[in-house]
Amino acid sequence: MSANPEHTLTPAEPSIRVSDLTKSIRNGTRTVQILRGISFDVAAGEFVAIVGSSGSGKSTLLGLLAGLDTPTTGSVTLDGTAISYLPEDRLAEVRGRLIGFVFQSYQLIPTLTALENVLLPHELNAPAKEQAAGLQRAKELLAAVGLAERGDHYPVQLSGGEQQRVALARAFILRPPIVLADEPTGNLDSKNGEQVMQLLLDLNRREGTTLVLVTHDPAVAAHAGRILTVRDGEVVHDERRVVHDERRQTDTTLPELV
């Protein structure tokens, strides 16, 4: 273990620090090198898109950022906490506290209703006495993504776009400092995809979170202030850009969140 996991946060520190990250997996008898020494920092509040072709290692990178997997070498530090080699249950706690996650295939729990799905991270991570406040926030978030009336529906009763909106609400319920999204529009048609993307950006702006998004869609990446291009397990390009998104300035259709 290379860093003190309880390292205290100082304002100067980046929201995400990735140092010399490598990852190889064994597939049958072969060993595949997926990431080959990646390092970068993400500042608090920054919106970074990670782009790359299929198999370039971008989803693996995102998984490691979220502490969903353990790197082979190197480390990931989130808000000052080195997470990479924490035991599984400590990692679970860190994930709950620091990260909101949006997946390509929504990953809602099929046996929970939309509202219960949104509430789940809160139930798992917040103190019991805050459950009522959690429920209130879950309802507001559902309303914010336009699904106030669908809270009692099960995932199977929702369309793909609606499921992804539920997943968005779920990602923000705990007001995480960091939101990670893996091809959030990948399974949606362009209209639904655009709607979800806008909701994600709006929520991100209002909550003031750091957003890291993996995509292979240039249109999606175009929303980001910084684009990291990954190829064959390495960052080959790191581009900072000025984003002109009028909607980000003018949108008032979303209610303010508590």
């Binding site: 064994r26 989803s59 998984g63 969903l68 997997d69 706690e93 729990i109």
Partner: protein, 858 residues
């Protein structure tokens, strides 16, 4: 620290249960059938055992009998009274010979008298009288009951008077049967049944007269432990007496019941374990399907323990539901089987459906479900959230081999602990619930061993199959190749399924082999032609005539068993003179009346416990002794006994003990205490005993025929007792067959559901195959090949172990093991057919599904 609340866990658990009702139906069914078999088989077999044991007791007419060779002294009488004050009932039976005449004639006839207390005797069974009347009415005052042969010989009728010693008695009834005729003495002469007061009034009972006295005892409770305790107590009080309990009187029944109990204990445990295996398989499949949900929850910050809650609740709910259903089924079985059997057997066992049995059933259901779902539940800890992003999580190619190894050990460590806990739990259940502690222990140990070997074998077989397939890949038809390749496809629970099916086959087949062997043995002791009429004191000049007469009788069936009997004395044992021998509960007086017989080879119904039985033509004097007698005389194989056979002077026979034997008590040979080879005895003076089987209700005819020609031959009718014995044994056999059948059926249902359970996860595969253009028949063919192969491998491995188990257990139970080639072959094919058919049935719905329905759900 916040956590997934139990309420939320319960909500998720119950919704998952509801959403996959079909799958969980099989789980509940598995548990239910296991618990049902356990409570049903256990409850029923113990109730049946109790009922049969009561019938078995009727052959002794008591729980225990103490045969006295001298009158008890004052202290002994006081001690006996002390015993009876504890609720033990006691009644004396005196048997002796005497001479009777018809009241108005002088022709004397040797009779065998039996004096009883009609208000107590018999403790078990009944004395059948003709005309039917209570025993207290037929015996007592002036009244006596007599054997029909007495009336024939003295040309009397019921209602006539007879003179016996100083008493004149009135024949009130005919004795058709006495329950303890088989265990009493086979004295010559017709029976006269009377009271002790009447016997005293005859003044035949004088000091020095050869009267045999027995005390019969009845215990307030009917368990074998109390019987054994009282026996030890009585042996202490009456060191000279020969104390026998009802189990010893009926070696055939006791052995059969003991074996049946052992096998039935095994049968019920087998059903339970099969149920548990079914549960484990279903839970494993279920959790595999829930991997995504688990990974999602973990990525949201759920700890493994949170997720475990959900599945723990599910397991408990399933176990409880299965347990409740199982207990209901089990009670149903207990209520229903006796009705069926009552029609078949004409007896109804007393049934107690105890609350404790129900609680035990429920607890067992829950505990086994929890135990066997532990390994799949523990796997939850290994579900990595990265699953959501990447399917192939074969783990890190950790550069440090030690790190990888440590991770592996950590992971399997939990499973090893789980294995140990399961083994301990099963041992606990087996020893608590099994009627035989030994069976329970052997079962648990065997189960652990077999499961380990099965898992290893399955893994090896799969690896071999894979190698074989790699070599022959090009030359196989695609359907065959796909089918076989499916077996070792990642994620396919083939090894687990192979082990489960193998274990199932092993247990089911073992139950079949064991019950088959037991039933075969029981059939030998229930042959309808076993002797039920004994002939006593046939002289050598009469024997050929008697044989010829018997051969002509239409009422006589089967072989006539003839036994030469030589009365003898024991002079020395291993060089120690009889007077100095230390005997165990055997009066020295008995050494004066040893009955010897000779046989050319081992007679039917006999089994060698130790040593070797001689063959025809053996020249050296050899002797075979019953186990009990060997204990009393303190002799073993290699000891020498010096007998004095009659002659002038005594003809000494010095014989070496070459075999300790056990007899089923059903043949005439068991009447002789010492069996010797022919050359040792052939030239000595002897009388003959005979045993024949006659139609039960026509024994009287046979007696009359024999008496007309050979008036000195005594005919002892034990048809009634033999019929009781035969019935009991037949009932045991039927019950074993019934319950084994039930257990086999239950096992098959559970196996089928375990196989069916694995099919649910194949939907995706079917859909992909269909999308790629595979027809339903092609998919069915691929699955058939996969499942037939699985069935054949599992069946083969399972049968090998079933035969081994049967061999070991049968040896323990003193039964012969024979390899049943046809049964094995049919079982093997049957298992393959079962796996294929179950596979098809479970896939039927899957095969019919439209690809898009599934893909949309994905």
């Amino acid at each position: 620290m916040a956590a997934l609340s139990w309420t939320t866990a319960a909500r998720i658990a119950s919704r998952e249960l509801r959403s996959s009702r079909g799958k969980f139906f099989f789980v509940i069914l598995s548990v239910a059938i296991g618990v049902a078999a356990l409570t049903g088989v256990r409850g029923f077999s113990s109730a049946f055992r109790r009922t049969l044991m009561v019938r078995a007791r009727s052959i002794l007419a008591a729980d225990l009998s103490a045969r006295m060779f001298q009158q008890p002294d004052a202290l002994q009488v006081a001690q006996l009274h002390a015993i009876s004050s504890n609720g033990v009932r006691m009644t004396p039976v005196t048997e002796m010979s005497g001479m009777a005449t018809a009241y108005n004639s002088l022709d004397p006839l040797l009779v065998s008298l039996k004096a009883i207390d009609p208000s107590a005797y018999p403790f078990y069974g009944t004395v059948d009288l003709q005309p039917a009347m209570p025993l207290q009415q037929a015996v007592g005052g002036d009244n006596v009951a007599v054997g029909e042969d007495l009336l024939i010989r003295l040309k009397l009728h019921v209602g006539d008077r007879i003179q016996l010693g100083d008493a004149v008695l009135h024949v009130a009834a005919l004795v058709l049967s006495e329950p303890d005729r088989l265990s009493g003495s086979f004295a010559a002469g017709p029976r006269i049944l009377m009271t002790l007061q009447q016997l005293e009034s005859t003044h035949l009972l004088a000091p020095g007269s050869r009267a045999g006295q027995r005390y019969l005892f009845q215990l307030p409770t009917r368990d074998d432990r109390t019987v054994a305790k009282l026996k030890t107590q009585l042996e202490g009080i009456l060191p000279e007496a020969q104390v026998t309990d009802y189990r010893e009187t009926n070696p055939a029944v006791t052995m059969a019941l003991d074996r049946a109990t052992g096998i039935l204990s095994l049968v019920s445990l087998v059903a339970l374990v099969l149920g548990a295996v079914g549960v484990a398989m279903a839970m494993r499949t279920h959790l595999l399907q829930r991997m995504d949900s688990i990974a999602i929850m973990k990525s949201m910050g759920a700890r493994s323990s949170h997720v475990l809650r959900i599945y723990l609740i599910q397991t408990l709910l399933l176990g409880l539901a299965g347990g409740v259903l199982g207990v209901a089924l089990g009670v149903g079985v207990q209520l229903l089987l006796p009705l069926l059997l009552a029609k078949l057997l004409g007896i109804t066992p007393e049934l107690h459906i105890a609350a404790s049995a129900i609680v035990a059933g429920l607890a067992t259901g829950l505990l086994t479900t929890l135990l066997f779902t532990m390994p799949p539940l523990l796997d939850i800890r290994n579900v990595r959230p990265i699953l959501i992003l990447r399917r192939t999580v074969e783990d890190n190619a950790d550069d440090s081999a030690i790190g990888g190894l440590m991770a592996k050990v950590r992971r399997s460590g939990a499973q090893i602990v789980a294995g140990i806990v399961i083994a301990a739990g099963i041992t606990l259940i087996a020893t608590t619930l099994s009627d035989s502690k030994d069976v329970g222990r052997v079962f648990a140990l065997g189960l652990g061993g077999v499961l380990l070997v099965l898992v290893i074998t399955s893994t090896v077989v799969l690896a071999l199959l894979r190698r074989l397939l790699n070599r022959t890949r090009g030359s196989l038809r695609p359907v065959v190749r796909h089918g076989l390749a499916n077996l070792y496809r990642p994620g396919n629970p083939s090894a687990a399924l192979l082990a489960a099916v193998g274990l199932g086959v092993m247990q089911i087949a073992a139950v079949f082999f064991l019950s088959h062997a037991l039933v075969k043995e029981l059939n030998l002791s229930t042959q309808p032609t076993l002797p039920n009429v004994f002939l006593i004191d046939v002289s050598p000049s009469e024997i050929d005539g008697v044989r010829a007469l018997l051969a002509k009788q239409p009422t006589v069936h089967g072989t006539v068993e003839i036994l030469p009997v030589i009365s003898s004395r024991i002079l020395k044992v291993d060089g120690t003179p009889a007077a100095q021998l230390k005997l165990q509960n055997y009066p020295k007086r008995m050494l004066q009346t040893a009955s010897l017989t000779w046989v050319d080879e081992m007679p039917p119904g006999t089994r060698v416990v130790k040593g070797i039985f001689w063959h025809t033509g053996e020249q050296h004097a050899q002797v075979a002794i019953g186990e009990r007698m060997a204990e009393r005389l303190h002799v073993g194989v290699g000891s020498r006994i010096l007998f004095a056979a009659p002659g002038a002077p005594d003809h000494p026979v010095d014989a070496e003990v070459t075999a300790i034997i056990k007899s089923d008590g059903q043949h005439v040979w068991s009447r002789a205490e010492f069996l010797l080879n022919r050359s040792a005895l052939a030239s000595l003076p002897m009388v003959y005993y005979g045993g024949v089987h006659a139609d039960m209700d026509r024994v009287g005819e046979l007696q009359r025929e024999l008496f007309a020609k050979y008036p000195t031959v005594t005919v002892v009718n034990v048809a009634q007792a033999m019929e009781t014995l035969r019935n009991v044994l037949q009932q045991v056999s039927l019950v074993v067959q019934f319950l084994a059948g039930f257990s086999i059926f239950a096992g098959l249902v559970i196996l089928a559901s375990a196989i069916a359970g694995t099919r649910y996860r194949r939907i995706r595969e079917v859909v992909v195959l269909k999308t790629l253009g595979a027809t339903r028949s092609r998919i069915a063919a691929i699955f058939s090949i996969e499942f037939a192969t699985l069935g054949l491998i599992a069946g083969f491995v399972g049968l090998v172990f079933a035969n081994l188990t049967a061999r070991v257990v049968l040896r323990q139970l003193d039964l012969d093991y024979h390899f049943l080639a046809l049964a094995n072959l049919l079982s093997l094919l049957g298992v393959a057919a079962l796996t294929v058919v179950t596979g098809w049935l479970a896939s039927f719905r899957v095969l019919g599904q439209k690809p898009l329905e599934v893909l949309r759900e994905e």
